[in-house]
Symmetry: C3
Subunit: 330 residues, 3 copies
């Protein structure tokens, strides 16, 4: 029984921890958060926690020495790309960085399966970011080596959801019993959809705060309802701020609105400032997937409750865990 | 006497294997297939084979630990670029990836010699891909460290030709005695020209199958004729399919034709399908330099005769061999 | 007392060498040449010299094994970027190369402080190249890990100035007593401004040779005057060529002139050819920050006085020294 296992089990009291996970993810693809059981999460978080402590102690490991990651990004994402590169390097492995796909053989018309089969002949594991939903599943269908989905269009971005949940665990040492408030664009935000699904494995309350036109999709609310998750919807953060343990803020994009006036009025009412935090719990955790464009005032950054930069760091440990697990080296 | 040496010598019965090659390529440039004797090929393939087995056993080596490759690509080629990166990393070396040359000092007007002399002050070996024919020779003229040509315009791409020949050896354990059929665009295809020249070192028969306007250049046919190579020309694959041991397919580009109609009629008659393979020898080897854009149906991929993805993997071992050899570490 | 210490002290006779610098730069930012005392320079050059000898002997070290450099280039500079990559790799560290910033989260409107705080959660040190003056200082203000300025607009490029001075030391084994002539665009040339400031720590004479419209800024001349540096200004190199020990040539950009005719007349009068060197001292050192676009004839490259390619190599050792120092590992 380990770190995350203790935390999660102590809270959920639902599942005994199964220590026999060793090798469970070896050779597997990481495509969707739907593939993870609560036990899987515990296992991944335990490995991530171990890596976090070792990085803090010794900087880097040699676990994946000689292993190569093909980091295949069809659309740019410096944040996610760099996080995976750091994760692989902290484990002693090396990276083939492929960021300029639009200029390459793909522009000669090569299919994703061919690109994947080529890269797997060079590397040991493939991380794929693609603008089209379903790309990761397509890649995995043809790949003989593990594919990790780093975001496919409006589809999944499972490592983001895992790092979000891991952040909650790190910051609050539990998940069940917490009240999580999601704020901003809840309609198009891939991040909050995935996190909500993961949270449904725990005993939590979720508040959704958004403009009317950007509400959480009804089918997802129904889905969580079926799992017994308490949910409420609001347009005003004040209604739930005081009870909130985790405030998860997302970006509201101008393009979603019919007029700039409408956008500006809405935008300003969802900006987190020191005034907002003054009314929040002293141990509330303020999260954001980043990049932010004004949704959280920079004046808030030095408040200990501002967890979004720590969230980035936790992401490296999650990705280290996944890389090591699919390569059978955790 | 080793793997490739046995295979090639057993077949060619022309040259005794000279074991005293050690250090032969150290400090040398790899610019053109014309620089290799049959003994050179045997030596390179032996080293490649050794690396193939070691990668399979232990993943990666430390032979080039501390050595740096400057991977200088003036035009994008994810496939070739990634293959060299993987090769260097599998040998324990590191890579300076330079893919965005068009944005850099070159756009300030810097000459290729100056770029090369700068990079050799940082790195131990330079891989160069350039859109202009003769660039590799120009770079080599000014370089004090080894330059490996990774394709210069319609000029040479020697590592591609070497990996093609190595693939034939790997798949059929011999070269001499085989009937090789080259299909598609034989006029502009740098790949088939280089491979044909390399094959002329062996006792083979070569069939050329192409549209009339894309026939193998007459001077190259004359050249091989002078070396005693049996050659035939066709517009229809059926004429030679049954006797073919190696079917080397290349891409036919739309731009070569005066009308789209002409292109489409021709294109379809050179597509490899399961029906094609049904008429081929059971041990025929189907090759393609990739990327493909429809010349080979994806339905064929799972046929054991489809060797094009293995071909990609062999390329890594060839490039490992060349990197180790020019750095005096094979 | 070590290499550079001996050289500098022997010449300057101003400062006793303080051996107790160990750890002095650990955790610090490298933003401006203004932050360095003469003792700092001696210390940095000593470390650089040690690394130069070790690279020559063993190729690479393991000093920064497990450490990660985020190489963040908002504007392309293959030369500087590759030099830092080589420096980190020669020390056994690894690199997250970020060259395509314009396509990434920045284009979503992320601020530099947020990008820096994200990258420091992945890496141990950040090298920053940015088109806006003051960017490095802004980044450093928010960073909790060392930031090294690799050029910020028309602001500073401290590692260039350090490598220039280190080149003079390497080539002439002293600085004080030398006559340095700076040639070309002295008005906009960030490089010559920084070098002049560094040289003012020594007892040197500086000649400025430029077109009238590209003269060294008056305030900088006044500044050096206040430090007792002898300075002269000319439009013609002949006036000072014979007395010159170090000839530092810079590029004259067409955009600085009102007409192409004016540009061409001026440009040609500042081109270094074998004829120029025929009139120069036999031990003169010819430097250029590169890239050059015709200011120095290629015919001059093989003259032993042509030091600009060696200058590039020295840059790697300077950057190795700075990386090791700020990471507390020198």
């Amino acid at each position: 029984m380990t770190f995350s296992g203790q935390m999660i089990n102590a809270e959920t009291k639902r599942l005994p921890f199964d220590a026999k996970h060793d090798g469970r993810f070896e050779g597997q693809h990481i495509l969707s958060i739907g593939q993870f059981s609560l036990q899987d999460l515990v296992y991944i978080f335990d490995v991530a926690e171990e890596f976090r402590l070792m990085v803090r102690r010794v900087g880097a490991l040699e676990l994946l020495k000689g292993r190569i990651l093909a980091n295949l990004f069809y659309e740019p994402s410096t944040r996610t790309s760099s996080s995976f590169i750091a994760a692989m390097q902290r484990l002693g492995g090396t990276v083939i960085p492929i960021n300029e796909v639009r200029y390459s053989s793909v522009s000669k018309g090569e299919s994703l399966p061919d690109t994947i089969r080529t890269l797997e002949s060079y590397a040991d594991v493939i991380v794929l970011r693609h603008h089209e939903t379903g790309s990761a599943a397509l890649a995995a269908k043809y790949a003989h080596k593990p594919v990790i989905n780093a975001g496919d269009g409006i589809g999944e971005h499972p490592t983001q959801a895992l790092l979000d949940l891991y952040t909650i665990l790190q910051e609050r040492a539990k998940v069940s019993g917490l009240t999580i408030t999601m704020l901003g664009d809840l309609k198009y935000g891939r991040t909050v959809h995935s996190l909500a699904k993961l949270l449904s494995l725990f005993d939590v309350k979720i508040n959704y705060v958004s403009p009317e036109i950007l509400r959480m999709p009804a089918d997802l609310i129904t889905h969580l309802d079926g799992k017994g998750i308490k949910q409420t919807q609001h347009t005003d953060l004040d209604a739930v701020l005081k009870e909130t343990d985790i405030l998860y803020v997302t970006r509201i994009q101008k393009e979603r609105f019919s007029s700039e006036t409408e956008y500006n009025s809405v935008k300003n009412s969802y900006v987190i400032t020191p005034d907002t935090l003054a009314q929040a719990k002293p141990d509330m955790v303020l999260m954001h997937p980043l990049p932010r464009v004004g949704e959280i005032s920079m004046e808030v950054d030095d408040d200990p409750r501002a967890a979004y930069f720590r969230q980035m760091e936790y992401g490296v440990y999650i990705r280290m865990a996944l890389l090591a697990l699919v390569l059978g080296k955790a």
